[in-house]
Symmetry: C2
C-alpha cells in the first residue's frame, strides 16, 4: 500500500467567510495522493479515521489577524483535530501502523510535515473516536477548565451552558464526581434529557424555552452559582453574572454563539465582577497538553468503570464534513460532533 | 470637652438616587451631639478630621438589593471612610486622643458603635489625610489589586484608566517601582501632566481627546498590554480587550463611569478573554485588610524617601461634602478627593 497512488477526497474552503458560515462555503474535491513521505523528509503520511468538529474552527474560516490560531487557506483543505493511522513515516517517533491524534487535514489522507505535535495513541480498549473528544482536546478543555481554572470544591454549585456538547458533558460529570451540585442548559428536550438521565446532572433546562434566563437561573440556583463553565457568551453570560456567588469563578472556554455574529452580543453586567469579586479566566486546552498523561491516568479508569460516559454524534464519510461542520453552530449535533472518514 | 453638648453638622441623604446623583440629593443639617459614649457601651465617640470620597459610595446612595455593601438611609447622614480622633471611648482597644481610620459618618462627630473595624493610626510623621487614601482603602486597593491580583513582572506593560485618581496614581508608581512600562489615561490636560511629571508614568493621554481609543492604545502599546488596572468599565474596557497580550491580567477595581448609568455601557469584546487567555478578576480592598501591616511596612519607607508621592484634592469643611462627593463622578477632582472637616 505504501507508495501507491490513491484517491484523496478533500474538504476545501471556498473563500474566507463573513457572518454565518454555510455548507456551500466548503466543497469536496477528489484528487490523488501518493502514500509515501517525500525522500529525506521527517513528515508522516496518515490515513484520517475520525475528524473532530470544534467551535474554534469557525475562526479559522475567516481572515482574522492577530488570532492565536491560524486561518485556513481558501482553495486548500480545512484542518482540525483528528485520529489518524500512520501509513508511512520519515519521523523516528512514528512508524507505519501507529495510531495518533492531533492536527490533520479534512481529507482522506494527509501529509503532516510537523508531526512532533501528534500524540501517539497507546490505549485502544476504548473507542478510537474518543481521541477526537473525550480523550483529546475537548477532554483537556474540560479537565483544565474545570479542575485547573475553576478550583472546584465539594458542595459548590456549578452551571454549564452548551452542556451536552463535547466539553460540557464532561465538565458536568467531573463536577458530579467532585461532589458538586450541577445544572446544565442546552437547546432541545432531547439534550436536556441526556443531561439528566445519561450524564446524571442534578438538573437541566432548555434555554430556548425560558422567557427569562435570570428567573430560570434563580430557580435552579436560589443561593447562587459558584462556578460557571462558560461556552456561549452574550445574553447567558449577562444573566449568569447576576446570579454568581461571591468569589465565583467563570471559566471561559468558548463563546460559540458569538462566533458568527458580525458584532457579538453585548454584555452589560460586568460590574458584578467587582461587586462579587468574580474571577473570569479564558483558557485554551493546548496550553495544558503537557498535563495530558496526568489526565489520561485519571480518566481512563473512570471510562472503563463506566463512571464517565460520552455521547458522540458521528457523521459518516468525508462528504458529510461540511454539513457536520455547520450543524455545530445551529446545535444540530447531539453530543460531540465527529466525522468518520474511515473505520481503520 | 468630653461630655459637652456641641454642634454637629451632618450631610444627610435626601432620598435614594436614581441616575446621575446631584448635590441636592444631599443636604446639611446642624444638630447637636454629646461628646460621650453612652454608659456601658463599647462604642467610641470620634471627631471626624478627614472624610474620603470614594466611587463605591455611589452604590450606597441607591437601594441596591444584594449588594456587598450597605445602602445609606434616607434622612440619615451618609457614611464612608475617614480619619478621626477619639474623644471618648467605651472600648478597651481605644482611648481618648487616639487617631483612627475606618468607617465613620459624614458629620463633625460620630458615635461608632462597632469600633473593632477601625485601624489605629501609629505613624503620624506623614500627613494624616493620607489615611483616607494612600494609607487607607485606596492604598490597599492599589496594593492588593496590582501585586496580589495582577502578579506583575519586571518589564511588563501596564495600562491604568482613571490613572490620576486615588488608586490609579499609586498603581502607576508601584508599577514603575516594579520595573514595568506604565501608561495612564485621564480626563484633562492637567491630570495627564500630573501622570507624566509628578507620578513619572512613562506616558499618559487624555481619553477625551482621542477619537479612537483603539488607535490610542496601539500607539502606546504597539506590542500589547500585559496588565490593565481597570477603573472605568464600558467602552475603554472593550478597546483594551482588543489590545491585551496573551495571558494578560485585568484587575477590576471599579467601574466609576458605569455607576450612574441606568444601563451600564455594553462590552462586546469578551471573546478576547478566550482568544488571549486573559484573567479578569474583581476584588475589593477590605478583603485584603489583614495584609495592611505588610503594606504599611512596604509603603511608609517609600513615602519617607519620596519614592511614592500622593496628590490630594482637599475640600474644606463638611459643607463642601456634597459638591466634593458629586464632583468625583464628573472627574472634577485632581487626585484623591478628601473633605477636611477639621484639622485636629
Amino acid at each position: 500500500m505504501a507508495g501507491d497512488q490513491v484517491r484523496n477526497k478533500q474538504v476545501i474552503l471556498r473563500d474566507f467567510v463573513e457572518g454565518f458560515p454555510k455548507e456551500s462555503d466548503m466543497y469536496i474535491v477528489t484528487g490523488t495522493v501518493r502514500l509515501a513521505v517525500p525522500e529525506g523528509s521527517t513528515a508522516v503520511l496518515v490515513k484520517n479515521l475520525y475528524l473532530s468538529c470544534d467551535p474554534y474552527m469557525r475562526n479559522c474560516m475567516s481572515n482574522l489577524l492577530g488570532s492565536y490560531i491560524e486561518s485556513f487557506k481558501p482553495g486548500s483543505p480545512i484542518s482540525g483535530h483528528g485520529v489518524c493511522k500512520v501509513i508511512d513515516s520519515g519521523h523516528p517517533k512514528f512508524k507505519k501502523g501507529d495510531l495518533v491524534w492531533g492536527m490533520t487535514g479534512w481529507e482522506e489522507y494527509s501529509l503532516i510535515t510537523a508531526p512532533e505535535t501528534l500524540f501517539k495513541i497507546e490505549h485502544t480498549d476504548v473507542p478510537l473516536s474518543y481521541y477526537t473528544g473525550l480523550l483529546g482536546m475537548a477532554g483537556m478543555s474540560a479537565y483544565a477548565g474545570f479542575f485547573k481554572v475553576c478550583s472546584p470544591k465539594k458542595g459548590e454549585t456549578v452551571f454549564i451552558s452548551a452542556a451536552s456538547g463535547a466539553v460540557g458533558q464532561l465538565v458536568g460529570q467531573f463536577a458530579k464526581l467532585t461532589g458538586c451540585y450541577v445544572v446544565g442548559s442546552a437547546g432541545s428536550k432531547e439534550k436536556v434529557d441526556l443531561l439528566k438521565n445519561k450524564f446524571k446532572f442534578d438538573d437541566a433546562f432548555n434555554y430556548k424555552e425560558e422567557p427569562d434566563l435570570n428567573v430560570a437561573l434563580k430557580r435552579y440556583f436560589p443561593d447562587g452559582i459558584d462556578i460557571y463553565f462558560q461556552n456561549v457568551g452574550g445574553k447567558m453570560l449577562d444573566e449568569v453574572l447576576l446570579n454568581m456567588k461571591s468569589h465565583g469563578r467563570i471559566a471561559a472556554c468558548g463563546m460559540i454563539l458569538q462566533y458568527n455574529l458580525e458584532q457579538p452580543e453585548p454584555v452589560y453586567n460586568l460590574t458584578q465582577i467587582i461587586a462579587k469579586q468574580i474571577r473570569m479566566e479564558g483558557f485554551v486546552a493546548f496550553e495544558f497538553y503537557p498535563q495530558y498523561p496526568e489526565y489520561l491516568e485519571m480518566v481512563l479508569p473512570q471510562i472503563r468503570e463506566g463512571k464517565i460516559v460520552y455521547v458522540e454524534d458521528i457523521a459518516e464519510g468525508i462528504e458529510s464534513g461540511p454539513a457536520a461542520r455547520i450543524g455545530l453552530f445551529s446545535g444540530k449535533n447531539v453530543g460531540k460532533q465527529v466525522v468518520a472518514v474511515a473505520r481503520e
